[in-house]
Each structure stands twice: as C-alpha cells, then as structure tokens.
C-alpha cells in the first residue's frame, strides 16, 4: 500500500531512456504537466562519462557499471515450458539499461529502419510463398502499420538523433552508394557517413567484387557537428573505440542526454525523479483506465501513489511486459492454450560471425566507433526466396571495428590455447590483425517463446520475477547457416591466414552467458486484433486506453536489424495519434 499520494499529473512516464525522453519532450511541448519516474541514477556526460575516467574497460564493459543490477531487477530463464526457469543472476546475454538515458547511454548506435516487408511479414509470406511454408507454431504477425505510414516518424527520429549515413532510396529513386534494398525514405540522412576503418573497406571491396551492394552502416555517432530539432548540439566523433557499453565522452553518440534531455529539463512543466521504481500501474474500479502508478521512492523509503491521466510505459521492452503482467493489464499469455496477449511472441536476435586473421595487416582496432562500418543487404528479408531456402528471415552482413579493448575484443585464431605460453604468444602476435564479418539477423516468435510471471523467484520488493521461455528454433538456425555460407564465400576472397566462424548450429541451445544483443523484443506486441496483440497499432493498450506502451516490446517478431530506429519511429507515430486524436477526446482509438 502506498504511504504517500502526490498531486496529480497529466502524464506519468515510466522510465527515462530513449522513448521516455521522446514522449516527455513532445508532450511537454503540448503544455501538459509531466513527471518521469526513473528507477536508476541521474546521468550526464559530465561528470558521468567524462574523459578519461569513462575509458575503463573493466568498470563499464566487464563489470557493467552503467547497466541494470540484477540484485535490484532481473528475470528467470528456461528453454522450454517443461524446464524449471532459473534466475539470470549476473548479466551476460543482454544488458538492459539503468538510470537516466537507459540503454541509450551505452548502446552502439547502429540505427536502422525495418524493411517494408518486415511490417507485414505474415501477409508478405502468405502472398508470395503461400501460408504452408510457415512452420508449425511460428506465430508470424503483421504489425498493423506500414513502412509508408511510419516513414515521416522514422525521419523525425533520425533527425532528432542525428544519424550519419547514405540514403539508398529517396522517394523510390535508388541512390548510388546507399542501400538499394531499403524502403523509400523522404530525405537523405541528416549527416554524411562516418569515415571507414580499413577492415570495413576491405570487406566492402570484396563484397562489391562479388556483385553485392555495400553501403555505410547508418550510425548514431556524429560524423560532423550537428544541431538537432530541439536545439541540441552534437560534436564529431573521435573514433575513440569506447562506444558500446560506455557513455560517450564527446557529445557524439546520440543518447537521450545529448539529443533531448538537457532541453527537456529546462521545461517548467516537466520534472523527473530518479531512484523511483514503478511497482505497478493502478487501475480504476471499472478496469478500463489507469489512475496512475505506484512507485518506490528510494530516497524516502516510501511507496508513493502518483495519480495521472495518461500512463506511458517506457521501461524497456522486458520491463514493459513485466509491469503489464504485475498490473494485470491485458490477459496474460498462456503458451499451453495459445490464448492471452501479454507475454506473447517474445523473440531475440540471431547473430553470427566469421573472423579473419592476417599476419601482414595492421588494423589498429582501437580506432573505431559503435556504429561505423560497411554493410550489405543483399541477403535481407526482402531478397531471399523463403520458399526455396526453407526458412523465413534474413540478415544484414557487416564489418567494422567498434573497438579494440583487450579484455573483451581480443580475437585469436582457431587453435589458440585459452591460457599459458601459447595464449600469451598469440595475443602479442595477433592483436590488431583481425577483421570480423558479422551477420545480424531476424528471429521469429513461436508459440512457446514467451514471457510470464515466475512462480518461485521474487524481486527485492517481493514481486514475482518475470520468466522468459526461449530457445533457438530450426527455422532461425537454417537462416544463420545460410548466412554463414554467404559470409565465408566473401571472407575467402580476402585470403586470410586464418579464419573462424561462429554461428548457431543444429541443436544450439540459448545460452545466457555470452553477450548476444540487447535486442529483446515482443511480449506486448502491436496489432489490429485484440486477441493476438496487447496494444493496438498506435501502441495504446487495448484494455486501458490511457496506458500506452513504447519500445521493442511492440515488435511481433524480430526484425533483421537493431531495434532502436524502429523504436524511435514508433514513439513519434504514437505521439501523432496521441496529439491529434487522443488528447482532444480520450478513448480507445480502435
């Protein structure tokens, strides 16, 4: 029970990462009274990411200083519904954010838009290949929104974040040097591409020779000086090599702090509280609306009821689902019956890679950015004959050094011992002599890949942890094996002295230990049918019309790209509906 009730706000925002900051900014501009609640600490470039203290691989990359602390918040994991789930006791596979800026502080900034076919994947597959190629238990769904509808909102996010890249398709016209397979965009990227590292040039040359279409990876790392829509300034990137897992010391990596928060904090109708973890969204007696949220105020040790007219769930995909489950908003999904919506269609990201070692090439891998590099989309969702290849999915294929941190980014040739004289010899011989070509691919959702409440384990507030049921499936393993073959063909043309591939193979089990990606999607998916989606096509809860849920929890299955471009675009898409349609007349929009 709450021990304190605070004065009512128009809007309460749960979580102050990318989506929370975007919603706060735009609704503050509408003149609404807004309070954002963030469970972690406040964070700013100075002092939290300042030079040289942030260049500390052990503290930030290995010991996860900026990330979620499992002691405060975690979940349990199992491979299938027959297994007993066990807690994710320390981080590995994915690294959710904690604190102002969320994971938008320590992300890489590889900023993509999904392909047009990805928004209507079920329809596309049925129309093009026939419904019978869809494997049993794969719960393929359309998003309920199209690339054309989202285009202006994707553009808006790219303009706010300041993305560096080269357009491949402007209003249907293919552009030289860009990605010819992308959905039409209305404008060039806000910034030109970053400079290429040599490894990515070698990859691009090899790919070009094979008839593929290399283009610069779209990057939320500034290539030039830039001022965004909110008057926020970004400075050109230093190629410092401490991007992923670190905050940027240089105001170059797009983050909520650099792109939005300093402007937002000046608004008199916006306020935020840190160390304030929302425990529950409270519902009105009729269950059709939310009355506000209850949160734990760590500074006073109190539980506080914060009344609000509009509740925006911006807590990162996994926490969004957990909060909906704990608040009993929407029917929980049941994998046995396939009924219910909250927790349905969790999916992840299928990645793999091939590393190449060259005795006579020196790469200086510490010269790198989180997102720079070259990619090809020739084996993307829209380019693969699913019927012929026997899987549904696709990947972008990419190269580019993101850093050369010696603890975590030391790539050694196959056969190198893990320790001893041979290991020591190898680190001296091979550090800085490798390049890696990665496949970043889609992952489909299945009847049993889902999220629900764990029956055993509790968090520090005594609430049940969320339980993740997930494993790799044949379809997706076939996809990654297909990419392995394509990548190895490219790699071999580079004539490396040694080469090693790492891709999921037959029978691969999901392993929570090695980092794979913080691209956890689904669980509160969007759609046009309340029986198979938790939120409608505007990201509004079907059950409580004043609860809106942002983030990659909305994706019905995973795209072949990193999620944040779509997450940002969807936030601006939801804002348009909120502003034009909902605020003048609050009600279910569908």
């Amino acid at each position: 029970m709450a021990t304190r009730t605070d004065p009512k706000k128009d809007v309460v925002i749960i979580g102050l990462g990318w989506t929370g900051a975007i919603m706060g900014m735009e609704l503050a501009n509408e003149g609404l009274e807004i309070l954002a609640l963030e469970r972690g600490d406040d964070r700013s470039t100075v002092p939290d990411f300042q030079y040289p203290n942030i260049f500390d691989e052990l503290k930030y990359a290995v010991r996860y200083d900026l990330m979620q602390k499992p002691v405060n918040s975690t979940l349990t994991v199992r491979h299938n519904t027959a297994e007993t789930a066990l807690p994710y006791r320390h981080l590995g596979s994915f690294l959710p954010g904690d604190g102002v800026g969320g994971a938008g502080v320590h992300w890489n900034g590889q900023n993509w838009r999904p392909q047009a076919v990805e928004y209507r994947l079920r329809s596309y597959v049925e129309e093009t290949f026939g419904a019978d190629i869809i494997p049993e238990n794969m719960q393929l769904q359309d998003w309920g929104v199209t690339a054309e509808e989202l285009e202006p909102h994707m553009t808006k996010f790219e303009s706010v974040a300041g993305i560096a890249g080269k357009a491949g398709n402007i209003n249907g016209e293919i552009q030289e040097g860009g990605n010819p397979f992308e959905a039409p965009r209305s404008a060039e990227y806000p910034m030109p591409p970053l400079k290429n590292t040599w490894d990515s040039e070698l990859f691009a040359e090899a790919a070009r020779k094979m008839g593929y279409h290399p283009f610069p990876r779209p990057a939320a790392n500034a290539s030039i000086q830039y001022t965004n829509d909110y008057g926020m300034q970004l400075g050109p990137c230093n190629y410092c090599g401490y991007c992923e897992r670190f905050g940027c010391n240089n105001y170059s990596k797009s983050s909520p702090q650099v792109c939005i928060l300093d402007a937002l904090k000046r608004k008199p109708n916006f306020s935020y509280m840190t160390r304030s973890e929302v425990l529950k969204i409270e519902k009105a007696a009729d269950g059709k609306t939310a009355t506000g949220v209850t949160y734990f105020d760590e500074k006073t040790g109190e539980e506080v009821f914060q009344p609000a007219d509009l509740v925006l769930v911006c807590a990162y995909s996994l926490h969004n689902v957990h909060l909906l489950l704990l608040s009993e908003i929407g029917e929980p999904y049941n994998p046995d019956t396939g009924e219910g919506v909250v927790g349905r269609n969790y999916s992840y990201q299928m990645t793999g890679g091939t590393s190449l070692w060259f005795r006579d090439k020196v790469f200086n891998p510490f010269v790198g950015t989180g997102a720079g590099g070259m990619s090809i989309d020739d084996f993307s969702m829209s380019q693969i004959d699913f019927g012929k290849e026997g899987f549904i999915g696709g990947s972008y294929i990419t190269a580019g050094h993101t850093g050369g941190r010696p603890i975590q980014q030391m790539a050694l040739p196959p056969g190198t011992p893990a320790w001893g004289a041979g290991w020591k010899e190898a680190v001296g011989e091979w550090y800085g002599h490798s390049l890696s070509i990665g496949s970043h691919g889609s992952n489909m959702a299945y009847r049993d890949t889902c999220l629900d409440l764990d029956p055993t384990y509790k968090d520090r507030h005594g609430r049940p942890l969320m339980r993740m049921t997930f494993d790799w499936k044949d379809n997706d393993i076939r996809m990654t094996q297909f990419m392995k073959a394509r990548i190895e063909e490219i790699a071999e043309t580079l004539n490396p002295d040694a080469m090693a591939s790492g891709y999921k193979g037959d029978g691969a089990q999901y392993d929570v230990r090695p980092y794979q990606s913080t691209h956890n999607v689904g669980g509160a998916i969007m759609g046009t049918d309340p029986k198979t989606s938790a939120i409608n096509r505007y990201l509004q809860s079907w059950d409580c019309h004043n609860v809106w849920v942002m983030g990659a929890s909305a994706f019905p299955q995973n795209i072949q790209y990193n999620p944040t471009g779509a997450v940002g675009g969807l936030a601006y898409w939801a804002l348009e509906a909120l502003r034009k349609d909902y605020l003048p007349n609050p009600r279910p929009l569908m």
Partner: protein, 235 residues
Amino acid sequence: MRDMPGRPSRRGFLKGSAAGVAIASLAGAVKAQAPEKEAPPPLDQYERVYFNEAEWAFVMAACDRLIPSGGNGPGAIDCRVPVFIDRQLAGNFGKAATWYMQGPFDPAANPTLGFQSPLTPAEIYRQAIPVFQDWCSQTHGDRFENLEAAKQDAALTSLQKGEVGLAPELRDFFQFLLANTKEGYFADPSYGGNHDMQAWVYVGFPGARGAFTSWPGRENARYPLGPVAINGDRA
C-alpha cells in the same frame, strides 16, 4: 616477435618474489623522463586485502602458469595480476554485490542457464582452492605451488575440464580464475594489475587515448604512440 617501440625486453622479467625488484628497475629505464614514482612493494610483501597466506601462494603460482613469464611479453606475475585478483575479490565483484543471489539455488543446472551457485566469487575461490590442493597432493604428490611447471599445467587442465571433484557450486572456479587473470593483465593499472601498462605495450593497445579522428582508413599504418592510463601515466 614484432618490434614495438617501448616494448620491454624479456630480460626484464623475473618470476615470483623477485619480480618487484625487476619491475622497479625496468620502470626506471623506460620512464627516464617521467617523474620518480615509488615502486610498489614486491609481491611477497604486498599487503593482501582478501587472500590468506595459503591462497596467495596458490594464486601466485596459478597466475604464473596461466600467463607465464619468459618468451615474448610480460607474464601475469610481472604485471602483478595477483594483486588485481586480491582486490577484486575484496570488492563488489568478489561479493557478488550487484548479482541476484536469492534462492532457491540449483548449482548443478544446465550451464547455459548461467551462474547458479549460492556462493559469491570470493567464497568460491576460498572453498575451491583447498579442494584443488588436496586433489593436487593426491594426484601429483604435492601442493600446486610446489609442482614443476609441466605438472602444474596438467593440473590446471584437469581443473579446466572439471576433473578435480569440485562440487557443483564451485564449478565456475576455473572460469573465474582465468577470466580474472586476463582482466588483471589487461585492465587499467589502477586496479593493481597490468603493472606499468606492460600488457598494453606488449600488444600495442593505447589505453585511454581515445582520440583518433585522423586514423580511420589508414592502411597498414601502425599507431605510433604508447599507452596512457586513466591517471595520466604513460608507458
């Protein structure tokens, strides 16, 4: 061996308790321009914050096999890696301060579900070392630190393979030991290891420099500057 500017010569490295002396003289030679820095105490006089005497003897010996001295590049002892591990175990890492440590526990669970021991890393070192020492005595006839190098390597290999009879809640011991040793080798020297940034010099990593605007795209050009540590030290 590649020639690297500033790379310390292998003659500078000695094993065990003599390492402090060797390092002090090396530091003097390499850093002719740098202001005088007080040499840290030799490892046998280092004031431990976590390990007891017996544990220290083991960790010193084990680190020395995991990243041996001799050959190219510094060894774990030259880099004072045991100091790093001692401090890490006394700190948040050793205490699992940020980890979820509520039961029930199933330490024998499928390893793909991750760490499931009820014990903290510091407790795992403390409980696993005596078990391994007993195994070494029974199998190889003496405590680990007294075995000759080849037998030490064989014993560590058995430990790595899970063949020394550790209980499930201790099964991550070798992984921690190896990971912590490499961390101590390559982390910023402020954590007690990577002494004088020798490991960074050896592989050619520039540490906390982080400003490379004119460097992307250069082909086969070796970055010329040696490393900088977070406290401003240069090697």
